[in-house]
């Protein structure tokens, strides 16, 4: 993570990631490695933007004529929407964006690749989504993004669980409206019906957290995935591994999302040759 940065000259195009905190972000290393591999004269830098400063910071960043795009992370993914002139399909559906780019006409377009990154991460690990039956817990921003992307990638069914029944129901209704063939159910445990069980809650980040959902009823061939990146192996993943399940790590989302966002930024990546997921918003 400490090599492969592109050289920086006066004519280097600039990209940034905004968040608070930002010191833990892996995106600068990931994106700069991609830029270097592409031979792009571009660099991505971390910017720590406190929530209260988002408006003034974004106005300032838009005033930088050589800044072409911004990756948006916690806590700005929803608040950024009011600073965007138009949204890609997934940002529209999820109500949040994880990146924005300057269009040739000067407008700023936002899009949400958290879900597409998760799906691309599955595919990169040889896990196909078509016709899968999915259990997903956590219907906040991350869960919404993942659910929409899985639906777009052709899963057959999804069972949603959230501690907030209204949030759970809203996502269910939205999925039913946008993806009519998808079977959407609400509540209940992970069980023998599921091929893939995904944790989209923050449960597992803090030491001593309980499992976000019980896994004893899953079939042995079910895959267990967690969006949490730190620790890399959450208690959920450790428990699943102990029971013989194949697991899928949180970092695969970020690693594969970087290539998608790099393409959204207009920098073509050879990494994308292996990604067969439709890129939301790529024709807009």
């Amino acid at each position: 993570m400490t090599s492969g940065n592109p050289p920086i000259a006066g004519d280097t195009r600039l990209f940034a990631i905004i968040g608070d905190p930002i010191a833990q972000a892996k995106s600068p290393a990931l994106f700069n490695r991609l830029f270097t591999e592409l031979g792009a004269n571009a660099v991505l830098v971390p910017l720590q933007v406190p929530a209260a400063q988002l408006s003034v910071a974004i106005a300032g960043l838009k005033a930088l004529a050589n800044l072409d795009g911004i990756v948006v992370t916690v806590p700005h993914k929803v608040a950024i929407l009011e600073h965007l002139d138009l949204l890609g399909d997934h940002a529209q559906a999820v109500g949040a964006a994880n990146c924005m780019r300057r269009l040739p006409d000067g407008r700023w377009q936002g899009e949400m690749y958290d879900g597409a990154g998760f799906v691309a991460g599955l595919q990169a690990q040889g896990i196909q989504c078509a016709d899968q039956r999915v259990f997903l817990t956590g219907c906040g921003g991350a869960g919404k993004a993942v659910a929409h992307a899985l639906a777009g990638a052709g899963i057959a069914a999804i069972q949603l669980v959230d501690s907030d029944p209204q949030r759970q129901h809203e996502l269910a209704q939205q999925l039913r409206a946008i993806h009519p063939p998808l079977q959407v159910s609400e509540g209940g445990p992970a069980n023998t019906d599921h091929d893939l069980a995904i944790n989209c809650t923050p449960c597992g980040m803090a030491e001593g957290d309980p499992l976000p959902f019980p896994i004893y009823a899953l079939r042995p061939d079910a895959i267990v995935a967690d969006l949490i990146m730190k620790p890399e192996r959450t208690p959920l993943l450790l428990a699943a591994e102990a029971r013989g399940h194949r697991i899928h790590l949180g970092r695969h989302l970020l690693e594969n999302q970087a290539a998608l966002v790099t393409r959204f930024f207009g920098l073509q990546s050879s990494h994308l040759a292996t990604v067969t997921t439709p890129i939301p918003g790529e024709n807009t």
Copy 2:
């Protein structure tokens, strides 16, 4: 110029250079090489800030909690003053700043190292300033900065020439007030009295420009310096070289200024071991 960039991670501290245009700027390569040599977890990126956008851009940059300092170049060196909370001595004297840093209390301090960079460049080339008799043409921002720094470095006399008699006289009066032992004269040609003749006008940047001043009356051992960086050898320097004068290039200013500004930014540079010039503002 294309290697030696520091690795960029989430916790990398950020510095920037603002200007318009910015594509030609050599500072990103110079500073990043210094940062790398220092082992500093820091990076400097070029930001193209149009003059009309300076206020909104600066407000935005100040809102970035991991941005610690900004190098300021054309056309912002004077306009930046209204965005600074306090000024170092040289910025105060010159009425312009070429860099700014965030102080621990959150205020922003500006300073002007164009002159100190020129003096450090002379010293790095083995040219001492003490007791020198100087001819200087061009009493704009660059000339002011150089004149003040030379006066601070102990030259004995300076003869100022500018196409604008009022600008010439104002700088002369200011130098007399701040540096009483310095002999200050106005107008007249470069002649046998001078040890060092310096061009601080833009004359020589454009093809077909005449010489900024005649050199035929200089002593053979007089040194001829030009602040212009492109072309590296201006018609003035070529003519001086043809007559057997030692010449001093514009790029030495920038190369040596980067180390001074890096120290102003709080990053200690081993390069500075060779610099004996007092650093303006270093105790403020």
